[in-house]
Amino acid sequence: RIAAAADLKFAMDDVLSEFRRSRPGARIDVAYGSSGQFKTQIQQGAPYDLFFSADIAFPRELHAAGLAASDVVPYAVGRIVLWSVRHDARGLTLRDLPRTEFNRIAIASTVHAPYGMRAEEALRAAGVWSAVEPRLVYGENIAQTAQFVQSGNASIGIIALSLALSPQLRAQGGYALISDSLHAPLEQGFIVTRRAARNPHAHAFAGHMQTPGARAIMARYGFELPARADRLR
């Protein structure tokens, strides 16, 4: 059983179907949701074998608490983009956001959502935070943030590149990548949990994530891939 951050939804489905082809016997299902909530649940004994977090800090905490059966494996670095369905976002930069046509700007929660925190950092780094803050609306998570934009209620938003590239949203609107120099990296990591210590499938899937095939899928969905060297840290 896998607990995976919501932003992995599309990539993970593809990785999984590839994995299933290689190991037809394995019964795998994935729960997508909030990384923080998964962390709390695993602390309380939730029956997940692998935990793919959107923020590498959570698996690290679990590892430190002795709840992991593996090292913390970074598997991707997330990127954020400006995205809009009402305007052509291609070519826009954060500095364009104070323009009045962007009356509502959606970002994810800056309190607990990793993508929201990075968005705030980027807006501050670009020097437009105070100008746009009154126009910000906050989504509970990155998917909800995208829905604010998708439904047209927010004219533009900052969402994950993986969502902007997802089959459902790719057709709508356009996006502009936000320079990763404006925010701390969105490192994502996973662990095999303690309860899965003896689960061969779990370890096999952990290994599978390192295969070129899986990495290619991840890259296709807009995740940058950490250097293999990271794994050794």
């Binding site: 910000l136 609306v137 906050y138 509970e140 604010f148």
Partner: protein
């Protein structure tokens, strides 16, 4: 103890819960009255439809409302034509969404209470010269008081606690749509348990006082 954000959220929540409860009572009463008095075939389907929003997850309701009230949605078009602008991410939008979602908690008890009023006192009032509106206010409403109390309690409490719809429609804008439930949720999600506990505690104590006050309107049983 509290950040200014917490206090803003508390005040906003109070305002929202009060406005919604009052509106629900005002809007729910005629519908409940109709449901209680009509012999129409439509009665039961309508009553069932009123309870329907409940069965969808709040976030999903919120999503549908977001789309409906958005610039391309039917409701959104109406509000824009009326010059009201768009409702999502505004306080009025929150109010509308909460109204829809908490409606059954007010309608149901009112419906039952109005049915319990029965014909005799209304007939007596009619023979004494009271017209339909008059006897509604002077007989049906006072006799249905327990239903009003129950409806107000459930509506009020549910509006305070619900945040799935609110988050979706409100966008968590401080001072405008970030109510206490969202604030507590944020604290919990951010593992800031101390503040979550504090805020929950205050909310509970406060709600307890309000609920107790509402119960004071509940008549005590007569001796025989």
């Amino acid at each position: 103890m509290f950040s200014p954000g917490d206090i803003t959220a508390i005040l906003l929540t109070l305002k929202l819960a009060t406005v919604v409860t009052v509106l629900l009572i005002l809007l729910g009463t005629p519908l409940a009255w109709w449901l209680a008095r009509t012999r129409s075939w439509w009665k039961r389907p309508v009553a069932a439809v009123v309870a329907l929003p409940l069965v969808l997850p709040p976030t999903v309701i919120g999503f549908y409302l977001l789309v409906a009230m958005g610039p391309d949605g039917p409701l959104g078009r109406v509000t824009e034509t009326l010059g009201l602008g768009l409702l999502p991410f505004t306080f009025p939008g929150l109010v509308v969404a909460s109204l829809i979602y908490s409606m059954p908690f007010v309608i149901q008890p009112l419906h039952t209470a109005f049915e319990a009023v029965g014909d005799p006192p209304l007939e007596a009032a009619a023979t004494l010269g009271a017209g339909p509106v008059d006897r509604f206010f002077t007989v049906a409403v006072p006799l249905a008081r327990p239903g009003f109390v129950t409806g107000a309690i459930l509506g009020f409490a549910h509006t305070i606690g619900e945040f799935g719809v609110v988050l979706m429609i409100g966008g968590s804008i401080p001072g405008e749509t970030r109510v206490v439930s969202v604030q507590i949720y944020d604290h919990v999600q951010a593992f800031d348990y101390a503040r979550a506990h504090w805020l929950s505690g205050v909310l509970l104590v406060f709600a307890f006082v309000v609920l107790l006050a509402l119960y004071a309107f509940q008549p005590t049983r007569a001796r025989r």
